[in-house]
């Protein structure tokens, strides 16, 4: 990844041109041709750096509900429990963390009652108590990363 790639990634995270030919517009801003921009993006995608390009929605404004859950999973059962948790399409993120509660996942669904049903089902299938920590207020949701601030040189 060179400095042009990093500039390209910073722009397409925050200020993707919403025009008919966005890659030509990105090329104009960076001094590249449309083809060069598309080739760089294809490489960044192949390398797994770009997960997707598309819209990120405010789930509450779509009428959806979300919550955060944690489990205390015995080390020997991590794979088995992860398979159960990850099998639900509403589980969008799942992380192992260094704590007594060692598996943390976010759950999204079309209503609060559906979240409760999924949580009850995870508890029943794993035999583990689910610690549920619903948000009461959001102060920040930012999912883009300024690569100039944090990227290793």
């Amino acid at each position: 990844m060179d400095s042009l790639d990093r500039r390209l990634l910073n722009i397409i995270q925050e200020d993707f041109p919403l025009v008919e030919k966005p890659y030509a517009e990105l090329g104009r801003r960076l001094g590249l041709t449309e083809t060069e921009v598309l080739e760089r993006l294809a490489k960044l995608k192949q390398a797994g750096i770009i997960r997707r390009i598309g819209a990120v929605f405010d789930l509450r404004r779509l009428g959806y509900a979300s919550t955060l859950c944690a489990l205390e999973v015995p080390a020997a059962r991590l794979d088995e429990v992860a398979a159960i948790v990850n099998s639900f399409p509403g589980v969008t993120h799942n992380y192992l963390r260094e704590d007594t509660y060692n598996m943390w996942f976010t759950l999204i669904g079309p209503c609060r009652r559906h979240l409760e049903k999924v949580i009850a089902s995870i508890a029943a299938r794993t035999g583990l108590a689910v610690l549920e920590l619903p948000a009461e207020k959001s102060y920040k949701i930012r999912v883009n990363f300024n690569l100039d601030e944090v990227a290793p040189e």
Binding site: K21, Y23, A47, G63
Partner: protein, 167 residues
């Protein structure tokens, strides 16, 4: 926030088409326009309007930050008196390295109510940042919880599956 307004069928179809990955081609909105029987300009106008309404939070690339070199990710949690939550949450949100900040319900077995997710290059940087955050909000009793593996990370697929308990 006021109750969300219901989306039209066209808007729901747009959500379904834009929640995936637009193609790396010169005119990436053309396929969406053809599916909806609209022009590209009309699709772009809908996207702009949904953005203005806050229904689309952001349009652009989602990165896998581990592959981009941002390898350490930690959750910092505090137990604060309720009257301090708002001010502390706003102060934490101002840090660029804090990507998420929420106030969450306390539980007897987990009494924390303020959460910040931070992304850093190294654990050392995370430790230093957590200490700075703690100084900023005047509470040193935090718990720093590192993630050691990402087991799943996907974008939610909205308006695909209807759940009977939600009707």
């Amino acid at each position: 926030m006021s109750l969300p307004r219901p989306l039209t069928n066209l808007e729901k179809e747009l959500v379904r088409l834009l929640q995936g990955d637009i193609p790396l081609v010169a005119n990436p909105f053309l396929a969406v326009a053809q599916k909806l029987n609209l022009s590209e300009a009309e699709v772009l106008a809908h996207i702009h309007r949904l953005q203005e309404e806050g229904i689309i939070r952001r349009f652009g690339a989602a990165l896998r930050h581990r592959e981009a070199g941002i390898t350490a990710n930690a959750m910092v949690v505090w137990q604060l008196p309720p009257e301090e939550l708002k001010s502390a949450g706003e102060k934490l949100a101002a840090f660029p390295e804090v990507t998420h900040c929420y106030q969450r319900r306390q539980r007897p077995e987990w009494p924390y109510n303020l959460y910040a997710v931070i992304h850093c290059r190294t654990r050392k940087a995370c430790e230093q940042l957590a200490a700075r955050l703690a100084v900023t909000i005047g509470h040193n009793n935090y718990r720093l919880i590192y993630s050691t593996a990402e087991l799943k990370k996907e974008s939610m697929q909205y308006f695909i599956q209807e759940e009977p308990e939600c009707e």
